[in-house]
C-alpha cells in the first residue's frame, strides 16, 4: 500500500481511531474484574510509593499518618468522639478504633479494624474504610487528604451516602 491510496479525511481518521480504542478497551474490560483491579492497585502500591518518594525528595517531605486521631460525630445514630490509631504493619498502614467517648464516658474498645490504607503519598491517598451500622459491617473506598500535619479529611461514598469526616491528630500529651 503506498501513498497513492486515497487518504481518509481527518474526521474519518479520528472516528477510526475512536473505534479502535473502543474495541481494545472493550476487550480489556471483558478480561478484567474488580477483584483483579484491586489486586493490581495493591501490588503496584510499592512501585507507586517509590515514584512518589522520588518526587517527594525533589519537593517537600510528606506527612506521616501514624498515631492517634480524634473524630467528633454528631448525627442520628451516634453523638460523641471516636479515637482511632493508625499503625504501620507488615501488610501496610492500618487504622483501629481504640476508644469511644460518648455521653456515658470514655470506653476502650477491642481494636477493631476501621481503615486499610492502599496508597499515601505524604499529602493524600486512598484506602478502605470499615464501619458498623445497625449491627452490620460495611466497607467503603475512601480518600484521605492531609489539610495540615494535624488535620486529615476523610471522604467516602457508600450506597449513595457521602461521608465527609475531619480527623484531628491527638497530641502525645493528651493521651
Amino acid at each position: 500500500m503506498s501513498n497513492d491510496v486515497r487518504r481518509l479525511g481527518l474526521p474519518m481518521q479520528l472516528a477510526a481511531t475512536s473505534l479502535i480504542v473502543l474495541g481494545l478497551v472493550g476487550l480489556a474490560r471483558l478480561a478484567s474484574s474488580d477483584e483483579g483491579a484491586r489486586k493490581l492497585d495493591q501490588a503496584a502500591e510499592q512501585t507507586r510509593q517509590q515514584l512518589q518518594g522520588a518526587d517527594r525528595d525533589a519537593s517537600t517531605a510528606g506527612i506521616g499518618l501514624e498515631g492517634r486521631w480524634r473524630v467528633d460525630y454528631e448525627d442520628a445514630w451516634f453523638t460523641g468522639t471516636l479515637i482511632y490509631e493508625l499503625r504501620r504493619e507488615d501488610t501496610g498502614l492500618k487504622g483501629y478504633l481504640i476508644e469511644i467517648l460518648d455521653e456515658a464516658g470514655r470506653a476502650p474498645v477491642d481494636d477493631s479494624l476501621i481503615l486499610e490504607m492502599h496508597a499515601w503519598n505524604g499529602s493524600e491517598g486512598e484506602g478502605l474504610y470499615y464501619f458498623e451500622y445497625q449491627g452490620e459491617r460495611y466497607e467503603a473506598a475512601c480518600r484521605l487528604e492531609a489539610l495540615s500535619s494535624g488535620e486529615l479529611r476523610v471522604r467516602y461514598d457508600v450506597y449513595g451516602y457521602r461521608g465527609d469526616e475531619m480527623w484531628h491528630r491527638v497530641a502525645e500529651s493528651v493521651r
Binding site: R7, A28, A37
Partner: protein, 313 residues
C-alpha cells in the same frame, strides 16, 4: 487458552519483563549495535569527526532530555496521572495478558498521533526538529531529543489512564514503544521479509521518516505498528535513496545549538510575525505556515523563497 490470557499476572514479574525489555535493551541491543555501526562506518570509510561529534552531541541532548523528563515526567506520573486514575478514570483494569497487550497497542496508537502532532504544529516541530536534525542515521540518533519532546507524549497518554489502565503500566508501555522505535535507527539493516514490513515499523520505514527528500516529509510516524500509517494515509515506502536530516541543516555539532535550534528558530519566527493572532497560528499551525498564506495571492511583500513550504520556517 482464554484462561491463560485473562489469568492475573504478578506485578513484580511484569515490571521485571519491562525492565529487561525497556531498560536493559540499552545494554544488550543499543550499545553493541552502535559499536557495530561504528565499525561499519569505518569499513565504508565514513567514520569521521562529524559522525563522532554528532554522536557525542546526541548523547548530551539525551542527558539534558532525561533531566527534564525526570522532573516533568515524575510530576506528571505521580500527581496528574494518579489523580486522574483515582478521581476521574473509568473503573480500574486488571493485570493480565489482554490488558497488557491492549495497553501497549493503545500506547502505540497514542504514539502515532502524538508523533504526527509533533510534526504538524509549530511548537511541536520546534522541539522535535532536534531529533531530525542529524545528517546521520544510527543508534545514537534515536536518543537525540529536544527540550520539550516529553510534553506532548505525556498529554496523549492521559486518556489511557482515564480508560482505567494503571498509570505505571501506561508509563512502561510508552517506554516500550519508544524503545522499540529506538532500535530502528540504523542504516545497517535493509528491508525485512514482506509480512514484517507490512505489519511492523522497520529500519526501512523509519529511514523514510528521517528523510529530507520531499516525498518522505511527514511520513511513517509509527512506533511499533506501521499499519497505523497505512490506515491513515501517511505511509511511504523506501524507494529513493534517503537523504537524512532537515531541509535547513544546522551544520553544527555544538550540543547547545543542536538542543535549542528549534526553539530558537521558532522564537525568531514569532518575533518577526506581526499580530497576536498570527503569533498564535505560528505555534499551532504546521511548521510551513506563514502569515502570507492568509493574504491574497501576490499581495505579499515577502520574497517568494520565504513563502515556499519549508518544514523549518
Amino acid at each position: 487458552m482464554i484462561d491463560s490470557l485473562t489469568r492475573a499476572l504478578d506485578w513484580d514479574a511484569v515490571t521485571t519483563w519491562f525492565y529487561v525489555l525497556n531498560d536493559l535493551s540499552f545494554v544488550y541491543v543499543v550499545v553493541p549495535f552502535f559499536v557495530v555501526e561504528l565499525i561499519r562506518y569505518a569499513f565504508l570509510k565514513r567514520l569521521d569527526f562529524d559522525v563522532i561529534g554528532d554522536s557525542v552531541a546526541n548523547v548530551i541532548t539525551f542527558v539534558s532530555f532525561v533531566a527534564i523528563e525526570y522532573a516533568l515526567g515524575l510530576l506528571f506520573v505521580t500527581k496528574l496521572y494518579f489523580w486522574i486514575y483515582t478521581e476521574i478514570s473509568l473503573s480500574h483494569l486488571s493485570l493480565n495478558w489482554v490488558t497488557i497487550v491492549t495497553c501497549v497497542l493503545l500506547a502505540d496508537l497514542a504514539y502515532y498521533w502524538d508523533h504526527r502532532l509533533m510534526h504538524r504544529i509549530g511548537i511541536g516541530w520546534a522541539t522535535h526538529t532536534v531529533h531530525h536534525s542529524s545528517p546521520h542515521f544510527n543508534m545514537s540518533v534515536a536518543y537525540r531529543f529536544g527540550p520539550l519532546d516529553a510534553v506532548i507524549p505525556l498529554l496523549f497518554s492521559l486518556p489511557l489512564v482515564m480508560l482505567g489502565y494503571h498509570p505505571i503500566l501506561v508509563l512502561l508501555s510508552e517506554v516500550f514503544v519508544q524503545q522499540f522505535q529506538a532500535i530502528l535507527h540504523t542504516e545497517a539493516i535493509g528491508k525485512l521479509p514482506r509480512p514484517i514490513e507490512f505489519l511492523f515499523n522497520t529500519p526501512s520505514h523509519h529511514r523514510v521518516h528521517h528523510g529530507s527528500n520531499l516525498q518522505y516529509w511527514d511520513k511513517n510516524y509509527a512506533g511499533i505498528l506501521i499499519i497505523w500509517d497505512r490506515m491513515f494515509g501517511t505511509f511511504e515506502p523506501e524507494v529513493e535513496q534517503v537523504r537524512f536530516g532537515i531541509d535547513r541543516p544546522i551544520n553544527s555539532n555544538n550540543p547547545l545549538v543542536v538542543f535549542f535550534h528549534g526553539l530558537q528558530r521558532l522564537a525568531s519566527k514569532l518575533v518577526s510575525t506581526k499580530g497576536l493572532g498570527n503569533k498564535l497560528r505560528v505555534l499551532i499551525k504546521p511548521p510551513s505556515w506563514h502569515p502570507s498564506q492568509l493574504e491574497p495571492a501576490g499581495s505579499s511583500s515577502e520574497p517568494a523563497e520565504l513563502r515556499l513550504p519549508d518544514k523549518l520556517e
